[in-house]
């Protein structure tokens, strides 16, 4: 399942996508993110029939994506994003 967390408003679309088919709940993204956006839950709240832990974006943070991710998305020379780099399964992607 492609879980798109974030929002879209007049200024643009800001989504982090977590591919739950690839995610094994290892938690590397939780440690990597300086804005503490990620958490690992024991069950996927959007897929009650799926067993096993999964990474999600914390509920209070999904409306703050644009500004929370600013730390890692400077204009100009962009290094690789810590959360995308940290995920060995390649489950994480950004929309902007």
């Amino acid at each position: 399942m492609l879980a798109n967390y974030g929002y879209s408003d007049g200024s643009g679309s800001y989504f982090i996508t977590i591919d739950t088919d690839k995610c094994d709940g290892c938690g590397d993204c939780v440690d990597a993110c300086p804005a503490k956006l990620f958490e690992v839950l024991d069950e996927d709240p959007n897929d009650p029939m799926r067993d096993g832990p999964v990474a999600v974006i914390e509920a209070e943070m999904k409306k703050k994506m644009k500004y929370a991710c600013n730390l890692c998305k400077p204009q100009g020379d962009r290094p690789a994003l810590p959360c995308v780099e940290a995920c060995k399964a390649g489950a994480i992607s950004h929309s902007w």
């Binding site: 399942m1 879980a3 798109n4 989504f15």
Partner: protein
């Protein structure tokens, strides 16, 4: 004596019972309660078939909304509450369903519910609710494969429509039809995505001599475009269906479907019960797996 201001934004609340369904013969009675920011629904199923449901305004009394919705569904049903085997809460207010055994997100419940009320050909579900928009891709079992939820911006939501219906003095039930009652070419969409600014823009248009119907058309068009840009992000695959209150507004939906270029699926059920129906179905699946309430 001042006239009481008509509450034009108020849509019709309803409940329904299946007169023929013998719920007493069912193995599992499961209930789904969907507490949304604008509306709440309760859906009672007997072995995965809908026995009764209710759809009403959540109001400001959120802690009691779940209880009120369940009572409304049970009204005249001759079913005692202790016959319920499992109850699942969903929706924005799912933490406020004190009698629920468990809660499941509205994403999962809407996909499952749409699969039920529209059939298992459904692969794309669009839910436009009171304060959010959800675009969901699912498989033939109603399992979610891709989803996107926008609950930060009111543009395109029911709340946005209520603001306009109030501003223009048109009852919400009439918005759809009246938005097509204009002469000549369809007006351009209002330029503001923001509901607050769109409201000022609409006032300006009325002052310039636009008719109410033309302003409605312009706003509905803007809402359709807004919803379209979100649903396009997950990709539309037939069959496509719409749940939630906005499904009843042809002013937005007809314009949206002509942009998408498909026909939306049809159902005999109330589109607003999809979340509660999905929740009740998850309850049924869990009971059958032996994960129901310990009696």
């Amino acid at each position: 004596m001042p006239e009481e201001k008509e509450e034009l934004w108020r849509w019709t609340e309803s409940n329904w019972k299946d007169p023929d369904l013998k719920w007493q013969d069912a193995k599992f009675i499961t209930v789904g309660i969907d507490v949304g920011s604008v509306s709440s629904q309760a859906c009672i199923m007997a072995d995965g078939q809908i026995f009764a449901y209710a759809n009403m305004r959540t109001g400001s009394d959120s802690p009691n909304s779940a209880r009120n919705a369940l009572n409304y569904a049970l009204e005249g049903a001759d079913m005692a509450e202790d016959k319920i085997d499992y109850c699942i809460g969903t929706g924005y207010g799912r933490v406020n369903v004190p009698f629920a055994d468990r809660s499941i997100t509205e994403i999962a419940c809407h996909a499952r519910g749409a699969n039920f009320i529209y059939g298992n050909q459904i692969r794309t579900v669009l839910d436009v609710g009171g304060q959010d928009i959800k675009a969901i891709r699912c498989d033939d079992k109603g399992r979610v494969t891709n989803f996107l939820m926008n609950d930060k911006c009111a543009a395109g939501t029911g709340r946005g429509m209520e603001v306009f219906s109030d501003l223009l003095g048109v009852s919400i039930n009439e918005v759809g039809d009246r938005s097509f009652q204009f002469k000549g070419e369809e007006p351009e969409a209002v330029s503001s995505t923001c509901v607050v600014y769109a409201k000022s823009e609409a006032t300006g248009l009325l002052r310039k001599g636009w008719t109410t119907e033309e302003v409605l058309a312009s706003y509905c068009k803007a809402m359709a475009e807004r919803i379209y840009s979100l649903v396009e992000r997950v990709g539309v695959v037939p069959e496509f269906c719409i749940t939630g209150g906005m499904a009843k507004n042809r002013g937005v939906i007809d314009r949206l479907m002509s942009k998408i270029g498909l026909d939306a699926a049809k159902t005999k059920w109330d589109t607003q019960i999809a979340g509660a129906a999905g929740a009740a179905l998850f309850g049924y699946a869990l009971c059958r797996k032996g994960k129901g309430r310990k009696k």
